[in-house]
């Protein structure tokens, strides 16, 4: 038999060549062999030999079937078919004791009667026929046989039977594994410790004889009925494995998974050499289990791979923290009492044994035993705990734990003695990748200063905990963080944290985290608990309690519980004003107050709170908070259409540039958005649009297409597009915004959703698509009403918009009813009054009540006095147009012309390509001109309008009206051909979509023009 081992050195090359050769048809192989040169040529002979066999192998059925064995006896004596009475080596089998993946164990006796004592015969299921196994057995068994100790099961013999079955003969021990033994007798902690001390004795003895066990676990630690401990399998692992690291048999490798590494030490997992310290570690795990009934690291870790990861890098949970009712019962105590017993010294001792670095564990088992003895005698133990509570608190307070992951980690580490490695990975809701990277990088640096290797290990643990921590990917990220948060919540319940401040802080963080990912209903009870616990245990004034209260307030606001939310914020505010200390918290409380008031539709009140927040924030050091308050107030002023958005926006921008440089963080982008809106209010709509588009692109990349921030940006894009006379773009942007808002809120009413509907409605109205506008106004009204009540300013404004749409659709009776309802209540602000009155004026005009209409419209500008000048300008033009329209309808042609021309001039300044508004003004101008006898000017004006509509939307009713008036103007100017054309086009549209009044005008025009002599002349 030619050994294959000889090929080992050249195998890779040989393997590749074989592949090449086998790819060729058989006939060509010989020739190919000749072509080999260089290195490859040296393998030619071997290849030739191998390939020569190929022919034979191919045609016959070498190895294709398993040969049959002629019958005899049972057919097989493998360990599976061993039977009582059979001989294995010098032993005769008496009874099978057990069988497992590793082999079988039998009770046996010496067949030759050399000893009376029975043995345990271990028949490992090894599939290796290693030449050196026998030699090694011989060597090792001498060493092992020397190990004599009352608590160690004697090793007698090892050998290979005639059939080639390896066996190991050991002292037969009749006992239970130590865990079962203690549980079945409900031994209390001191009794268990005494048992355990026997174990330590035994291991110490073995160590003194330079034998490391390597495989300590409860099933290898038996206890007899007399209470005597017996350790099994000392050094067997090494015997069977050889000199490498623990090497399981082929069977375990087949499935590709290691068997459970629960008791394996970190160095074992890493494949490093095992020492005495490894046994100490395993003993630590055994002790942990004896005391708590659980193994360390069992936080819902599913796979062996994750467990290995945890063993190598995660901190075990303190024994006193994992006490369960069952475990306590088995230890003859109540859970509380057991926890108290374990807390303190025992925790410390166990954790020292479980230290990751071998050098930090007990150096010898003797030391381990000595410390336990000291504990039993009530003496101080030598192991030093880290003062976890102190450090954890300090850490928690130093870093505003904004996210779920931080909470989960701290909770996971609660009970561990290594608080300094808690890492905060800030994935604040909406923050971009950049922010995460920066934060993480900062923390990494900090940790690196403290303990480099540790930091890396923990980072790995974090990453394994939260699979794929990346920027917002919508649902995927939420799910992961959600799991982590829920785990943290459960863990928090299970861990008995004695420090109330920490518990409150953790609850606040978990609740905040849940809120951050939109799980509002789940967050509410968590934060409620935090608040009440804080109130009960820490007092109203503690920072932790205030923080909890504010967090609770936010969740309440977001779930629509506005009154209760307001109560939280106001209470916090009162306390904070009184103490005057913590301005950042005060600013936070004020921000909350602002938010609630906005939801309630109280813009004035919200503005007041927003400015107070700015003032408070300006005096404290956290610049990001300052930026946030500037952003808030700017946005609010913009939304409420008040002047004063630009100044805070500028300040916020400047600050943001300072703080963030050119990093695109979420907050920075938000600030840019606010600034752009303020610019737009101030008249720079083009600049604002470009800026907003840029922001939109960046946000899409950073935070994904489904996030709320993006929806808000789209809203702004829509508004600005409207201002620039491009309602179609606005409609596109806003439809998308509505979609996102609705998706994000799962259909629940939110301010964002309501706002999006509002502006979309305005866009439709602007584009003269009144039916669609009506639908959107209704949505906006419903949503705003659900949020802040039907009497809030935004809800009322939405209803007035709907009423105007009804007017435009000719449904004057319905419009009237709606306005009447609105007028029953007083206006909340002058802006609201101005808007509603203008709209009502248009209804009155359509109803023919011209004087009333004029009266309503005339005073409108006063209402916008609070708005920014550019806002006022922008409002002015439409107002003028409305006024002009009303005057026109009332027959006051000259006045109307004047007003309308002013409006036109204003709009031309800011529009690029005309707009529906401008077109409508032009039509009105044309009408006035016709009435005033200025036909040519009328033609010019109406031409402009109809040209616009041809480009924009030829089928719109307004287009029809533009054509109609153009026809009339042309007719008045004597250009009958063109007039007829125009009339045809007007007919085409208005027959289908015209209001009755419009159709009436159309018919009238037809009659007029047909009756015109010139027309007849041209036939």
């Amino acid at each position: 038999m030619k050994p294959l081992g000889a090929l080992a050195g050249r195998w890779p090359a040989l393997n590749a060549l074989l592949d090449e050769a086998l790819d060729l048809p058989a006939g060509e192989r010989a020739a190919w062999l000749e072509t080999l040169h260089g290195e490859r040529a040296t393998l030619r002979d071997t290849l030739r030999q191998l390939l020569a066999a190929h022919a034979g192998v191919d045609t016959n059925d070498f190895l294709s079937t398993l040969p049959k064995l002629p019958p005899g006896g049972d057919g097989a004596i493998g360990i599976g078919a061993l039977a009582v009475g059979e001989r294995v080596g010098p032993y005769r089998l008496i009874a099978e004791l057990g069988r497992g993946g590793m082999g079988a164990v039998w009770r046996a006796e010496r067949a030759d009667g050399a000893f009376a004592r029975q043995v345990a015969l271990k028949l490992p299921l090894i599939n290796r026929l290693r030449q050196d196994l026998a030699l090694r057995f011989a060597r090792e068994r001498d060493i092992l046989a020397r190990l004599e100790h009352p608590h160690i099961a004697r090793f007698y013999d090892a050998g290979i039977s005639a059939d080639g079955l390896p066996y190991l003969a050991m002292e037969f021990v009749d006992g239970q594994p130590i865990g079962e033994y203690c549980d079945s007798r409900r031994l209390d902690v001191p009794a268990r410790l005494r048992q355990f001390t026997q174990v330590l004795d035994a291991v110490q003895h073995a160590h003194a004889n330079l034998i490391v066990h390597r495989d300590l676990k409860p099933s290898n630690i038996l206890v007899t009925a007399d209470g005597d401990v017996r350790l099994l399998d000392f050094g067997i692992a090494k015997l069977l494995a050889g000199d490498g690291p623990t090497d399981e048999t082929q069977i375990t490798h087949v499935s590709g998974r290691a068997l459970t590494p629960d008791y394996a030490s970190p160095e074992q997992i890493k494949g490093e050499p095992l020492t005495i310290a490894s046994d100490v570690y395993s003993l630590g795990v055994v002790l942990y289990e004896l005391l708590t009934g659980q193994r360390p690291y069992r936080l819902e870790i599913r796979s062996a791979a994750q467990l290995e990861q945890a063993i190598v890098s995660a901190d075990p949970i303190r024994p006193s923290s994992v006490v369960s009712a069952d475990a306590a019962h088995a230890r003859g105590a109540s859970p509380k009492r057991l926890a108290r017993t374990l807390a303190g010294d025992l925790d410390t001792i166990v954790l020292k044994a479980l230290a990751k670095a071998p050098g930090q564990r007990y150096a010898t088992v003797a030391e381990f035993a000595a410390d336990l003895e000291r504990h039993l005698q009530g003496l101080p133990v030598l192991a030093r705990p880290d003062s976890f509570t102190y450090r954890a608190r300090k850490f928690v307070l130093r870093h505003r734990l904004e996210t779920a992951i931080a909470a989960a980690l701290v909770v996971a580490l609660v009970g561990g003695a290594y608080a300094q490695v808690a890492v905060t990975v800030a994935l604040a809701a909406g923050a971009g990748v950049a922010l995460w990277q920066t934060r993480a990088a900062r923390l990494q640096a900090r940790l690196a200063r403290e303990q480099a290797a540790r930091a890396e290990a923990v980072k790995q643990f974090v990453l394994s905990f939260v699979v794929g921590a990346q920027a917002d990917k919508g649902a995927t990220r939420k799910t992961t963080i959600f799991d982590v948060l829920m785990r943290a919540r459960k863990q928090l319940d299970a861990a008995s944290i004695s420090d109330d401040a920490i518990k409150v802080e953790l609850l606040t963080t978990i609740g905040g985290g849940l809120g951050g990912i939109g799980e509002l209903q789940l967050a509410v009870p968590v934060l409620a608990e935090a608040t009440s616990l804080a109130r009960a245990k820490l007092g109203e004034e503690s920072r932790v309690a205030l923080d909890a209260k504010i967090g609770y307030g936010w969740i309440l606001r977001r779930t629509g519980n506005l009154d209760l939310a307001a109560a939280q914020f106001e209470a916090a505010e009162r306390t904070l004003r009184g103490s005057g200390r913590d301005l950042s918290l005060l600013a936070a409380a004020l921000r909350g107050k602002r938010s609630v008031r906005m939801c309630q539709g109280d813009y004035d009140g919200a503005i007041e709170a927003a400015w107070e927040a700015v003032r408070a924030a300006a005096k404290q050091p956290k610049r990001e908070l300052m930026i946030a308050t500037y952003r808030d107030v700017s946005n609010l002023m913009h939304e409420a259409q008040r002047a004063g958005a630009l100044e805070p926006a500028r300040r916020g921008m400047a600050l943001a540039r300072e703080v963030f440089g050119d990093r695109s963080t979420g907050l920075f982008l938000d600030m840019r958005v606010a600034h752009a809106c303020a610019l737009s209010d101030a008249g720079d709509a083009e600049v604002a649009l470009t800026e907003m588009k840029g922001i939109f692109r960046q946000q899409s990349q950073l935070i994904g297409r489904d996030s709320l921030e993006l929806a808000l940006t789209l809203r702004h894009l829509g508004s600005i597009s409207l201002k620039l006379g491009d309602p179609v773009s606005a409609i596109d942007s806003l439809r998308e915004a509505v979609r996102i808002c609705a998706a994000q809120s799962a259909g629940r009413p939110t301010r964002e959703l309501a706002g999006a509907h509002s502006i979309l409605a305005a866009s439709f109205a602007n584009a003269r698509r009144h039916a669609e506008a009506l639908a959107e106004w209704r949505e906006a009204d419903l949503t705003y009403s659900a949020l802040g009540g039907a009497d809030g300013e935004p809800a009322r404004l939405a209803r007035s918009g709907a009423a105007l749409a009804l007017t435009r659709l000719g449904l004057l009776g319905d419009a009237d009813a709606m306005f009447a309802a609105l007028l029953e209540r007083p206006f909340r602000s002058s802006v609201e009054e101005a808007i509603v009155k203008r709209r009502l004026g248009q209804l009155r005009s359509a109803q023919g009540r011209h004087d009333e209409a004029y009266a309503l419209l005339r005073d409108a500008p006063a209402g916008f006095a609070v708005s920014a000048s550019a806002v006022q300008d922008q409002q002015r033009a439409p107002w003028l147009a409305e006024l002009g329209d009303v005057l026109l309808a009332g027959g006051r042609f000259a006045e109307s012309l004047e007003v309308l021309q002013e409006a036109r001039t204003l709009l031309l300044g800011s529009l690029r390509n005309g707009s529906p508004d401008l077109a409508e003004i032009s039509v009105c101008i044309g009408r006035a001109q016709v009435a005033l006898g200025r036909a040519d000017e009328a033609v010019a004006a109406t031409d402009e309008a109809s040209a616009f509509w041809t480009r924009f939307e030829p089928s719109n009713r307004s287009a029809g009206m533009a054509w109609l008036w153009h026809a009339r103007a042309l007719n008045a100017a004597g250009d009958l051909c063109k007039a007829a054309d125009a009339l045809r086009r007007a007919s085409a549209v208005l027959e289908a979509t015209g209001l009755p009044i419009e159709q009436a005008l159309l018919r009238q025009t037809l009659v007029e023009m047909n009756a015109s002599p010139q027309q007849l002349g041209h036939g």
Binding site: K2, G75, G78, L129, D163, A258
Partner: protein, 184 residues
Amino acid sequence: MGDITQLLQRAREGDRQAFDQLFQALYPDLRRIAHARLAPHVRGTMLDTTALVHEAYLKFEQSARLTPADRSHFLAYAANVMRSIIVDAARAKRAERRGGDAAHVTLSTDVADSVAREEDEILDVHAALEELGQLDPRLAQVVVMRYFGGMKEADIALALDLTDRTVRRDWEKARLLLANALRS
């Protein structure tokens, strides 16, 4: 049979005891199958025993929800178990031949017998396979699964995460090497 599910789950999680217990539960079936493969009166070759292995597998599948990966692992695992059983049987046969009651502790593994028998083939292949395993573990595994386990190409491919083609090539190469080793 409900506990099989739990055992599988725990074994999947790396619970060693569960693994052991699973083995215990499986073992009788696998032994029966392995012996069936050796018994001369069983007609046909691998096909029948493959069916038997699958039958054993199906027993678990009914009560457990096994993933396709589980099935492949099961089969691969079974093949290795059967190898040990079959090798044991061959050893026993050889021992019988040499005449029963051997003296205690022959630490040498020399085989001094010139008459080649079926059991010799098995043991020789086993030994050569050991060496092949040192050279290229994957090739050896393919042989174990085919020769001892009677697994089909597709199943081997699944278990080892290879293509059918690769398995075929591996088998080809392995047989070349083994033939070379055994027939000098």
